[in-house]
């Protein structure tokens, strides 16, 4: 009962919590998403403003350089002196003076601007350098270069950043080849036309402060410029890391590509750059070091350079993560608080119900008095109505209980009753169960029912019972049990599985009667029966042994007979062979012939004995293959035609159709030879006639061997196929043979799946038939 109240309390708490937590959760989720969105928007703005302003500053830097160079080109003294440089009629002295003036003027400018490395004057007709303040040598014409062509078209042009071919000053002021540099060209315009092109070489390293000196509160901000091929134009914030990663040798400029080291692909931000607007990526991506960052990219106006501002993802999202933490903590705390309040509130509500259930629980505890706390009855609410209804119900139950008790007493008198729980432990045993099993109740209760197991039944017997019971069926049967004193008792039992409300088995009730005496009578009868059958079995086994010994004896004898036969045959056939052991006279020869003939007879008898033996033991081997029956019949005919003629008879083969079956052809031939030889023995001299035939029937192939011989009685026919049977001694004397031939025929035919029979009338000939199935 305590269980029920607590689950009720639980449900109440659950409901209160749902009611209070759901709005809290919705509010929290809403606040959470709005705050996170705001925070993200702010991050985007900060990144985009970094790159946007940065790109603008670079644009201004370029503009400043262009204006300065253009200013020098517009200087009147420079214009005048440049004109003289190209005047072919000018004197050597005048030319020297002009070059001196230009040199002086240029030197002043170079000293004035840190970023100005070198100034050159180019012939606008050929594109070749005619004057320079430095060491730059352009062996080829500048024609085709964008900055030069722009200047020819009266505009100020700028080159791409490139690696110098001649040694120039690097970032440390030392001379080196391959230093990144940049050219700006401006037209030198006279009164009439173009006097020359002023080309200035710019120190690219000068751009670094413009790109990097930003006031930003991101500590991991990385600001850099890359050209359209993805090469760095400024230094990196992490030169040491890059050298360690072997991404650069000397500097980032023109060495480092904005690619992810692992994938060798351009970083995501560079891939997605858009010339017209600022691109930003807030989802972390790998930068050129492979570190996850977020960033923004803006193209520098008037160039194809990209200004990239990146911040480590960790730092960028630090604020957002902090916010997440505080929001979850705050809502979690509120949730727990709500839960505590819900528990306290539910307890208060449930207390009266709990008191009622305590009273109900007492019924279970078997206290006959059922009393309800009077305060509940007085309270006049739903609970009190429930309580009084319960009291009425209890009175009815009390009556039923008394009646049940009476039934129980009756059952106890009549039967042996026990109740088992799910695990087959005895939870109830009536007086008669205790008497029969000779155990006390205390010894039985809580024990497994195996305590009375006699060991008489197989485990499978109990498995069957269990199978029936667990499927809800009542089991009825007889069980042999063992009492405490070791004696056995038989019970005729009815076991009923008891189902609970969920239709699951909760216990088993076993109602039995004692049938021990009846069983003892039955067992005594059974025992004497069994003893009889054991004797018969023994006798059978002895018989089998004798039979086996007989078989072995015959097999051994057949084999042993062949061995002495061998020298007899060798000697006799040697004597018969001319000149081998000396020639014999006619009488001697006839004697030897007789020895040879009788050796062959003996050999056949031994062979027949072996065949009969093999058939008997089921050891004869059959080699089944496709057999052309019509050809076999023709062969039989040819083989035996001369033998029949010797006896003055004739043989006819009536086989007219082509027949093929799957069988052992040599064994089939053995049967046919045997039957035909038999027929030859019995046909009358000179008028004898043997007809053989094979034909298809529904049962298989039917073979027949007919003769017009002496025939036989129906008595004889019955015994014909038995071993060692011959018609009579006179026939035996006349025809020889072992009496095994037909038994062997039957054995072979039956082993090949067919049957053999005979039709005959005394004096009118004999017809042998046998059928061999086609498969």
């Amino acid at each position: 009962m305590a269980k029920i109240t607590s689950s009720f309390t639980g449900k109440l708490i659950f409901m209160v919590m749902i009611l209070s937590l759901v709005p809290l959760l919705i509010a929290g989720t809403y606040l959470y998403s709005v705050e996170i969105e705001n925070e993200k928007e702010s991050l985007k703005k900060r990144l985009e403003s970094l790159s946007g302003v940065g790109a603008q500053n670079v644009g201004l830097w370029i503009e400043e350089k262009k204006i300065t160079v253009d200013g020098i080109a517009k200087n009147n003294a420079i214009i005048a002196d440049t004109k003289k440089l190209f005047d072919p009629q000018i004197s050597e002295e005048e030319l020297f003076k002009s070059r001196f003036n230009i040199q002086k003027h240029f030197s002043t400018s170079i000293n004035q601007y840190d970023w100005l490395e070198e100034l050159m004057i180019i012939d606008p007709k050929t594109g070749k350098v005619v004057f320079t303040t430095g060491l730059s040598s352009f062996p080829d014409s500048l024609e085709g270069e964008i900055h030069y062509e722009e200047a020819v078209n009266r505009k100020v042009g700028m080159s791409e950043v490139y690696s110098s071919k001649s040694p120039i000053k690097n970032e440390l002021g030392q001379f080196e080849r391959g230093v990144p540099t940049l050219l700006i060209s401006a037209p030198i315009r006279g009164e009439v036309g173009l006097e020359g092109i002023l080309t200035a070489r710019i120190n690219v390293f000068d751009i670094n402060p413009t790109v990097k000196n930003f006031l930003t509160d991101f500590t991991s901000a990385d600001l850099y410029l890359v050209n359209s091929d993805g090469y760095f134009l400024t230094s990196s914030a992490f030169p040491q890391t890059l050298i360690e990663m072997e991404l650069i040798e000397k500097r980032a400029e023109l060495e480092l590509l904005v690619i992810v080291p692992e994938t060798k692909q351009f970083t995501k931000i560079f891939q997605e750059k858009n010339p017209s607007i600022t691109t930003s990526i807030l989802q972390g991506y790998a930068d050129y070091r492979g570190i996850p960052v977020v960033g923004a990219l803006t193209m520098v106006p008037g160039t194809n350079w990209s200004y990239i501002a990146e911040v480590d993802e960790k730092e960028a999202y630090y604020q957002i993560e902090l916010l997440q933490f505080w929001l979850i903590t705050a809502f979690g705390g509120m949730g727990i608080l709500t839960a505590i309040i819900a528990v306290i509130a539910s307890r208060k509500l449930i207390n009266p119900i709990k008191q009622l259930t305590t009273s109900v629980k007492e019924i279970q505890d078997d206290s006959t008095e059922f009393e309800i706390n009077p305060t509940i009855l007085k309270s006049n609410d739903e609970v009190s109505v429930l309580a009084s209804a319960l009291k009425n119900q209890m009175n009815i139950i009390e009556k039923d209980k008394k009646q049940l008790l009476e039934f129980k007493i009756a059952l106890d008198e009549a039967a042996i009753v026990s109740i088992l729980d799910m695990n087959e432990r005895i939870v109830f045993a009536n007086e008669r169960f205790c008497e029969t099993s000779k155990y006390s109740r205390d010894e039985l209760l809580g024990k497994n029912t195996k305590i009375v197991n006699s060991g008489y039944h197989n485990p499978s017997f109990f498995k069957e019972i269990k199978k029936d019971l667990t499927s809800g069926k009542t089991w009825r049967g007889e069980i042999k049990n063992k009492a405490k004193d070791g004696t056995f008792f038989w019970l005729k039992s009815t076991i009923i599985p008891v189902l609970d409300e969920e239709k699951k088995i909760s216990s088993y009730i076993n109602v039995s009667t004692d049938i021990t005496e009846q069983k003892i009578r039955e067992e005594t009868l059974l025992k004497s029966d069994q003893e009889k059958s054991i004797t018969i079995e023994k006798q059978l086994e002895e018989l089998k042994l004798v039979e086996k010994q007989k078989d072995e004896f015959v097999a051994m004898m057949s084999h042993e007979l062949k061995t002495p036969l061998t020298p007899i045959k060798i000697y006799s056939t040697s004597l018969r062979r001319p000149k081998l052991l000396g020639d014999l006279n006619e009488k001697q020869m006839s004697a030897v012939e007789s020895i040879v003939f009788n050796t062959q007879r003996l050999e056949k008898i031994v062979g027949d004995l072996l065949d009969a033996q093999k058939l008997e033991l089921g050891k004869m081997k059959f080699d089944k293959k496709e057999t052309k029956v019509d050809e076999l019949m023709e062969m039989m005919f040819r083989n035996l035609v001369s033998q029949t003629k010797e006896k003055g008879g004739q043989i006819i083969n009536h086989t007219s159709e082509k027949i093929t079956i799957n069988t052992d052809s040599s064994r089939l031939a053995q049967v046919l030879t045997n039957l035909i030889n038999n027929a030859i023995d019995f046909i009358p001299k000179d008028t004898g006639k043997i007809e053989i035939k094979a034909e298809k029937t529904t049962e298989g192939v039917l073979f027949s061997v007919k003769d017009n011989g002496i025939g036989m009685t129906s008595e004889t026919q019955k015994k014909l196929f038995k071993k060692f049977f011959q018609t009579d001694t006179s026939v035996k004397r006349k025809h020889g043979g072992t009496g095994l031939g037909l038994a062997i025929c039957r054995g072979i035919v039956e082993a090949l799946g067919g049957r053999i029979w005979v039709e005959s009338q005394e004096g009118k000939g004999t017809n042998f038939y046998f059928v061999i199935p086609e498969e």
Binding site: A555, S558, H559, K562, T563, P564, L565, T566, P567, I568, K569, I570, Y571, T573, S574, R577, L580, L581, V596, T599, E603, L610, K614, K621, D623
Partner: protein
């Protein structure tokens, strides 16, 4: 021709010896299968006539032993058997490299035919 016969039955070897020596062949025999195996291994013969069922070491054992080093075919072994064993078993021995087989009781004509067959090959 040099012919060896291995058979545990003294009467059979005696009979075959009488006939084959009178035909003018170089005939040698043993009734001990172990000795037989030794002679086959150590000496050269043009033909070996061998029984199958012999005590301790059977002809089948000898054939299996000789088949191991592949020289069995040169030996021209003709198995002479009274065994009730099936033809299958004899076919297995042919597969292992014996020349052919004759069944006991054998007549002298069959033996002489076999000798002539091997002599002419």
């Amino acid at each position: 021709m040099k012919i060896l016969m291995v058979d545990d039955d003294v009467e059979i070897t005696k009979a075959v010896e009488t006939i084959i020596t009178s035909l003018g062949h170089d005939f040698q025999f043993t009734n001990d299968p172990r000795e037989g195996l030794k002679l086959i291994r150590e000496q050269d013969q043009d033909m070996v006539i061998m029984d199958l069922s012999m005590p301790e070491v059977s002809g089948i054992d000898i054939v299996h032993d000789l088949a191991k080093d592949g020289k069995i075919k040169e030996k021209k072994i003709v198995v002479l058997t009274a065994s009730a064993a099936g033809d299958e078993e004899l076919k297995d021995l042919v597969g292992l490299g014996i020349h052919s087989f004759l069944k006991k009781p054998v007549d002298i004509d069959a033996i002489i035919n076999k000798i002539e067959e091997i002599e002419s090959s």
